[in-house]
């Protein structure tokens, strides 16, 4: 059968080039949608008259930006003194606040709450004296701690317990992620305001009310609202991948339950938790709309400042800030990847831990019940408040805003946004993003884990000594969309693609649906990478090697063995990719300009009317309903691989 043999050889050859080709396509997309546009903006930072580092030096020597570090160049000896003074002062303040907590517990009137509140106020008050950068890092750290505290118990509940609606709940954890900041601001102001339901409740049970609005606390809480679900999903995916047999082995060797958890389960969860923390830190480090809407200019972060610089067309200063921001994020990412590499993982073949029923009465479940209450306050209350805002007319409840949406769907005139078109576009772009970002993410995850170079390049091209550094470089570069300011990406797309570039005398401009999907995929693929790479790293290489020895091509081994084994990560990454696409605003609004390619978040912003939030929140409620439904469907489809 010569024919079939040549056919077989052809398909093998095709498979051999498939991976390098996929790598090439991924690289090309990144150059067009990310590196080139962002490069055009960042180049401003070093392109004064000729090549100059002056703009960066200006920022680094300005006390407004870096506080006590500003003199580091002129007077290096002066810096430690300032920092030491701050450290000593803060330590003393924190120490006395800490001591006050147990003391209060022993006091006859038990004012623990007051003492805890004082401790928190002290913690918030000791922001490092490093100017705008110092404050930005500080609020990102607080936000990361809050997101972990809110997110980890959720991962435990979802991964280890079985209860009706668990799967749906798991799907819905992606919802906060997609909500436009204006909606979240509306929900938070309504929920936690002076006369909001939380304070009503506190008053009803005789507790002191809280003044949360326009403070660092509310910013941290809103950041946790966005990012705790992220921690939950990533850690839950890893937890479901823990091999039950390893735990059973430890138990049979005499380890206590706690010991088995500490020595077997925790090491397998740490990389996921650290990934969640890293992503949260980077996102909150770069946060700006939420800070502006809930805190105000007083709580400006570097990104808020950068956004304002761009709006003032001070592009050189903006570029310098963006370069420094990116360096911080990428530096963190690099440090994290070194850690991820160093964490040795046992070979894993997944046979998940058995789930326990949720309902019962013991300390563990009571704690989970208390956690459930916190989730209700932090997540359900703001979302419910958003929904309420969409039916609150100037003089009482009304459905007029929904009527407006329906009517506008029928009669949208020139330049007006049509809600029906926005819903359709959002879903189309979301699916398109899935189809592009998931393969992209898998390709980059493969390139960034051990043996990555051998998959894409001829054997022996890269010396072993360099392979590790190369992998980490790919891993860091893969995180670039997260590490670069969203404002800068938007500006770059506007100047680099929408304005167009001269190519051989003709102007080439990019915009519309395809460019939007490409931009969304560029923003979304790092999620796939971060969800898949840790699992790939833990794969048993021998499985792949056996398959290859038995004659499977690289691509075949990938599709038949590796991908199924890391499917929980792929599914988690896919849900995020969809969520990123649905929620994306900055790039979409720029690339959709002048076409009918606007999405739901764009419609929400457009419907902000004078004297009413009703139409914007009604559109936002539609967004909420449509995406919640979509997540459940996606999870049903992707979930086949997970159980």
């Amino acid at each position: 059968m010569a024919g079939s043999r040549t056919g077989h050889a052809l398909s093998r050859r095709a498979e051999r080039v498939a991976l390098p080709l996929a790598g090439l396509a991924t690289a090309l997309l990144l150059v067009v949608m990310l590196y080139y546009p962002v490069g055009t903006v960042l180049a401003e930072a070093v392109a004064g008259d000729g090549l100059s580092l002056a703009p960066l030096a200006d920022v680094l020597s300005d006390p407004f930006y870096v506080g006590a570090l500003a003199g580091a160049v002129a007077d290096p000896a002066g810096v430690p003194a300032g920092v030491l003074r701050w450290a000593a002062g803060s330590a003393a303040a924190l120490g006395s606040a800490l001591v006050a907590v147990p003391a209060a517990a022993l006091a006859p009137d038990a004012t623990v709450l007051g003492a805890l509140a004082r401790l928190w106020a002290t913690l918030v008050g000791v922001a490092p004296p490093f100017g705008l950068f110092g404050f930005t890092v500080w609020q990102a750290l607080l936000s990361t701690v809050a997101s972990l505290a809110l997110g980890l118990p959720g991962a435990y509940a979802l991964a280890r317990f079985e209860f009706p609606g668990r799967r749906a709940l798991e799907s819905l954890t992606a919802v906060p992620f997609v909500l436009p900041s204006i909606m979240v601001a509306v929900g938070f102001v309504a929920a936690f305001g002076a006369s909001g339901p939380l304070n009503d409740l506190l008053r009803a049970v005789g507790l002191p009310t809280v003044e949360l609005l326009f403070s660092l606390e509310i910013i941290v809480l809103a950041h946790a609202f966005y990012n705790a679900p992220l921690v939950t999903r990533i850690v839950a995916a890893a937890w479901e991948n823990v091999d039950a047999r390893a735990v059973e082995t430890a138990r049979s060797l005499g380890a206590s339950r706690r010991r088995a958890f500490r020595d077997v389960v925790v090491p397998q969860l740490l990389p996921a938790a650290a990934t969640g923390a890293l992503l949260t830190f980077i996102f909150t480090f770069m946060s700006f709309p939420i800070v502006l809407a809930l805190g105000g200019l007083e709580f400006a972060t570097v990104e808020v400042w950068l956004y304002d610089r761009v709006r003032q067309l001070e592009l050189t200063e903006a570029a310098a800030l963006a370069v420094l921001e990116t360096l911080v994020s990428l530096g963190l990412t690099y440090a994290y990847l070194r850690y991820e590499d160093a964490v040795s993982r046992g070979d894993r073949v997944s046979s998940p831990l058995a789930r326990e029923p949720l309902f019962g009465l013991d300390a563990k479940r009571l704690a989970l019940g208390a956690y459930g209450l916190v989730v209700l306050v932090v997540f359900a209350l703001p979302i419910a408040s958003m929904l309420v805002a969409s039916v609150a007319g100037p003089n009482g409840p009304t459905v007029q805003y929904y009527e407006f949406l329906i009517q506008r769907g029928e009669t949208a005139t020139a330049a007006q946004v049509n809600p029906a078109v926005a819903v359709r576009n959002s879903l189309l772009f979301g699916v398109g993003t899935l189809l592009v970002a998931v393969p992209m993410g898998i390709v980059l995850a493969l390139a960034s884990v051990s043996g990555g170079d051998a998959r894409f390049l001829p054997r022996g091209l890269v010396p072993d000594a360099l392979a590790g550094a190369g992998r980490r470089f790919v891993g860091v570069a893969a995180m670039l969309p997260f590490a670069v300011s969203g404002v800068v990406v938007g500006l770059g797309l506007l100047q680099g693609l929408v304005f167009g570039v001269e190519v051989f005398g003709a102007r080439v401009a990019l915009g519309g649906p395809l460019a939007i999907v490409a931009a969304h995929a560029t923003g979304a693929y790092p999620f796939v990478v971060r969800n898949v790479a840790p699992l790939l790293g833990g794969l048993d290489r021998r499985l792949v090697e056996s398959a290859r020895a038995l004659g499977a091509t690289r691509a075949r081994a990938l599709v038949d063995i590796e991908v199924p084994l890391v499917m929980p990560g792929v599914a988690a990454g896919a849900a995020f990719a969809f969520a990123i696409s649905i929620g994306e605003f900055d790039s979409t609004v720029i690339l959709a300009e002048g076409s009918d390619a606007y999405t739901m978040p764009v419609a929400v912003e457009r419907f902000l009317g004078r004297q009413t939030l009703g139409r914007a929140t009604a559109m936002g409620s539609v967004l909420l309903a449509v995406t919640a439904g979509a997540f459940v469907v996606i999870d049903r489809v992707g979930g086949r691989y997970r159980e």
């Binding site: 502006l292 200019l297 400006a300 304002d308 002048g594």
Partner: protein, 368 residues
């Protein structure tokens, strides 16, 4: 009222609401023959008007009415709106980068934007239309904010404080805002991004001078002022929720409250020192337009008494021509408040100072 923080896109559809069409034809018959423009034949083709999104999206917005009325007057013209996300900056950057500009008219300029254009660009973004408008003379002279005659005012507003009289006393001076009776009461906006926010900042510069305004803002901060990014966030979200009893807004606030039959308790307007900061809005013709006559005809049309009345009521701003000449509703006349002593900075006073004032202010606030 420009809100330059939102996304925008353009979509096409050609449905007219009956009453708009009726108003349009009425206007058209009343105006036949009024519109003068220099140059060749009857205006025709597509006219692209760049503007801010509330001009086209708001309830009963001025934009759709204007489009219908103008097209009824000139059947060969189609008006298309475009609302770029970054507003005027989009066109400044296009000019700087040598990218094409495909709009003919810009609606929604104020004086600081003219200053930005002149400091950022060497070539002309807009051209001087004063010679091409037959209705240009109708504009009140004290509103003209562009010495080069490019931007022509089409409406004007006054920045004032809106407050809740059940929660706080009426403030009458700037000193009131920094005294104990008004602690933690004021919501203002980011002067870098919001028109009313910037107007309020300039008002304090007017009051305390370039050397004293920052001290006043430090006192405001000590007294608990909150500065949110946009008018929407400050007014619709925070003020409407009762989070603070006072907000920097427009003196036409009661027109809205009356339109929706709201209780006037939360819609009291306060003019500090009997002043209000005047903020005229203008339109201009792009220098690169390939239909200068149609653009001029459109701008001329916006200055007719009929259009001036409609724009004022729909945009909830005062007309740019004398009020007795514009067809205003009684409701508007009753509820739109005018300060006894309007103040404002001229182009020449702001040039060379504005950026420094705003940036020093922003740094002071962010350090707070």
């Amino acid at each position: 009222m420009s809100r330059k923080t939102e996304g925008r896109t353009a979509s096409n559809g050609r449905t007219r609401r009956a009453y708009l069409a009726a108003a349009g034809t009425l206007g058209a018959t009343a105006l036949a023959g009024c519109a003068g423009f220099s140059g060749g034949g009857e205006p025709s083709g597509t006219l692209t008007v760049a503007t801010y999104s509330s001009w086209v999206e708001d309830d009963g917005a001025a934009g759709p009415w204007l489009k219908d009325a103008f097209e009824a007057e000139y059947p060969d013209v189609t008006v298309e709106y475009t609302t770029p996300d970054s507003g005027l900056n989009n066109f400044i950057r296009r000019k700087q980068e040598g990218a094409p500009i495909d709009a003919d008219v810009y609606v929604g300029l104020n004086v600081d934007q003219m200053i930005r254009i002149d400091s950022e660009l060497d070539e002309a973004l807009f051209d001087d239309v004063s010679g091409d408008l037959s209705n240009g003379d109708a504009v009140k002279s004290d509103l003209r904010f562009d010495p080069d005659g490019r931007a022509v005012p089409y409406d004007t507003g006054y920045i004032a404080l809106v407050f809740d009289e059940s929660a706080v006393d009426r403030p009458t001076t700037f000193d009131d805002l920094v005294s104990p009776g008004w602690e933690d009461t004021l919501l203002a906006q980011n002067a870098q991004s919001s028109d009313p926010g910037r107007a309020f900042l300039l008002w304090t510069v007017k009051q305390y001078g370039a050397d004293g305004y920052l001290d006043y803002w430090r006192d405001l901060q000590d007294n608990g002022v909150t500065i949110l990014d946009s008018w929407d966030e400050a007014y619709n979200n925070a003020y409407s929720n009762g989070e603070r009893p006072m907000v920097v807004s427009y003196s036409t606030d009661q027109v809205y409250a009356n339109r929706y039959d709201q209780d006037m308790t939360r819609h009291q307007v306060a003019f500090l020192n009997d002043q209000g900061y005047a903020n005229p809005e203008g339109m201009a013709r792009f220098a690169d337009t390939d239909s200068p006559d149609t653009a001029a005809a459109f701008m001329d049309f916006m200055l007719t008494p009929e259009a001036q009345g409609e724009i004022a009521v729909r945009n909830v701003q005062f007309p740019a021509i004398p009020e007795e000449e514009a067809n205003l509703t009684d409701e508007f006349a009753e509820y739109a408040k005018v300060p006894a002593d309007p103040v404002t900075f001229t182009y020449d006073e702001l040039k060379g100072n504005l950026n420094g004032w705003v940036e020093d202010w922003a740094r002071a606030i962010a350090q707070g």
